[in-house]
Symmetry: C2
Subunit: 332 residues, 2 copies
């Protein structure tokens, strides 16, 4: 059991904000980053929470993340917007994307937002949920450093390219789906390397495209996609929506989201907001579908564990490994 400490969501956000402000990040973007990391931590996605802070600080210090990035945006059409995150954090750009998307989808029915010159966007679930809380269907995809090889080859070209989706419900938390297109998260392989453990077969291939249980060889190779050729086809779709459309870097040019060296990642995101007709009627139909699923023996709705984690974190605070908090406090 690693040594850990309970911290409230408010204190966690305040701490992260202080850390970032101490690195010359202005308060508004610092708060945005803090809110996103804490929200990810609260829903149990610790790989997108406190564990990222030290690496973010390293990248701010090296200039790989621009502390004082200027976010600019340009309307492409009445319902589509291109945001240039200016090689700063992704989260303040995502906030703008969602504000704009909500307004435009409420008015025009649909809204599509692309983000370029972006960075690690954390838990996509956190972002699409915001759209669903405004009564909209939300869809989001992102690219990331190359990790998945096109089916049949051994050279990674696509990121683990996540897809997230959310839909509003009546008197229940929104339905939230968030998944990456690799069979398992790349973070699990990194964790195995750190703790000097082998990985199960079926997670990754080595640089020659052969199955491996060695995390080092896996990180030099590629992650196995879900659904074989279907998974890499979906990864290509995500790559086009998240990067090609935005004019962002494609995954092979996206530098590490972890290390302070190299050029900025310049990754891309895409968000879509859809206004369902008749919010109540839509939610009633959705409830019928979800009830069918949740009444089945053995079945679980996506997001069930997430909702429990969030409720627990709100009531009891976050249980964070002490070394993350010690590091954070040392960085303020």
């Amino acid at each position: 059991m690693p040594d850990s400490e309970i911290i409230s969501l408010e204190d966690a956000e305040a701490l992260i904000t202080r850390v970032l402000c101490a690195q010359d990040v202005p308060e508004a973007p610092a708060r945005s980053v803090a809110a996103a990391l804490v929200a990810a931590e609260a829903e149990g996605q610790s790989g997108h929470g406190f564990s990222r802070l030290e690496d973010y600080v390293g990248q701010v210090r090296s200039g790989k993340i621009r502390a004082r990035a200027e976010i600019t945006s340009r309307q492409i059409s009445q319902t589509s917007l291109l945001i240039d995150a200016g090689h700063g954090f992704a989260y303040p750009a995502l906030d703008q994307a969602i504000d704009w998307g909500v307004q435009v989808a409420q008015c025009y029915g649909t809204a599509a937002i692309s983000i370029m010159n972006s960075h690690h966007c954390g838990a996509l679930s956190v972002q699409v949920e915001k759209l669903a809380r405004e009564g909209l269907i939300g869809l989001m995809v992102s690219n990331a450093p190359a990790a998945i090889a096109p089916w049949g080859s051994s050279v990674p070209v696509f990121g683990t390219n996540p897809i997230a989706f959310a839909a509003p419900r009546n008197s229940a938390e929104p339905l939230v789906i968030d998944l990456s297109l690799s069979r398992v998260a790349r973070g699990k392989v990194m964790h195995a390397r750190k703790s000097r453990q082998s990985i199960p077969e079926g997670w990754a291939l080595d640089a020659e495209g052969k199955p491996t249980t060695d995390p080092e060889a896996a990180l030099a190779g590629s992650m196995i996609p879900i659904g074989e050729a279907k998974g890499t086809a979906l990864a290509l779709m995500v790559e086009i929506l998240a990067a090609t459309l935005a004019g962002a870097n494609h995954s092979p040019e996206v530098s590490s989201f972890f290390t302070p060296d190299g050029p900025p990642p310049g990754s891309g995101q895409f968000l879509l907001a859809l206004r369902p007709e008749g919010k109540e009627a839509f939610a009633d139909r959705l409830e019928a579908l979800l009830t069918t699923v949740s009444n089945l023996e053995g079945a679980r709705l996506p997001g069930t564990r997430r909702n429990s984690a969030i409720a627990h974190a709100r009531a009891c605070g976050l249980d964070v490994p002490r070394h993350y908090l010690d590091t954070a406090r040392s960085l303020t």
Copy 2:
């Protein structure tokens, strides 16, 4: 080698149109169905081609497909449309969806179209490709009779719920992706049953959720999704976009697309059209990405086989099992 006959695309369309007109389907929708079936056949998706015609006729005769369905539509917002296919064929409704989607996406940047009271929509690739030929990014999803069980349960709730995507290219056929969320198409299991062969393990589960190699048990059970729980989460996403949003029947209520008995399927489809900014610049970036993929040893771009099949069919005609053509001619 089954006995087959070469027929030109034009003759094939004319034959199918005649067959449907002989069943009291008006000429315009008959032509639409014929074009879709022949396009699917041409790209090598024979499961959505001539093989469907006899079943379509059976359903028109029983009234499960309304020969003279009135298609109505209602604009939900400036950029979203709900089409009621009136329990007729899906294809004429899809034609309207695409016409409207192209116009609206050209003007507003995005367009979202839902179709309810619909039927089998064949090869989605055929539809999204039309959007890409107009310079748009196209996305389409559909539900279908329940075939995939939520992960952990053994009762099918979702259709094989396909996802299709297309993007325009400079001086090349559009990039087209089209995949269902089951590991293999349900049609392959039906084919195995017909030809009294067993199916490989990994395709399907029996009604108790156990792996089976018996096609009969598989059809009474469920198809295994790609990516385990991730696949059923994607199937739920597709179900919500294709059916819940439209107010179409959810997959458990969607009746067979094959048999003449029972109520109309009332399935749903969803299409999204997106206008990329700077068509040329977008296509140049896409070309760079696709070149990276196609230069890799062992990798193949999605749609490569499809494009060859289409080119061959245009040049040499379709090679169709003779019994399908004999049946068609007997139905005129």
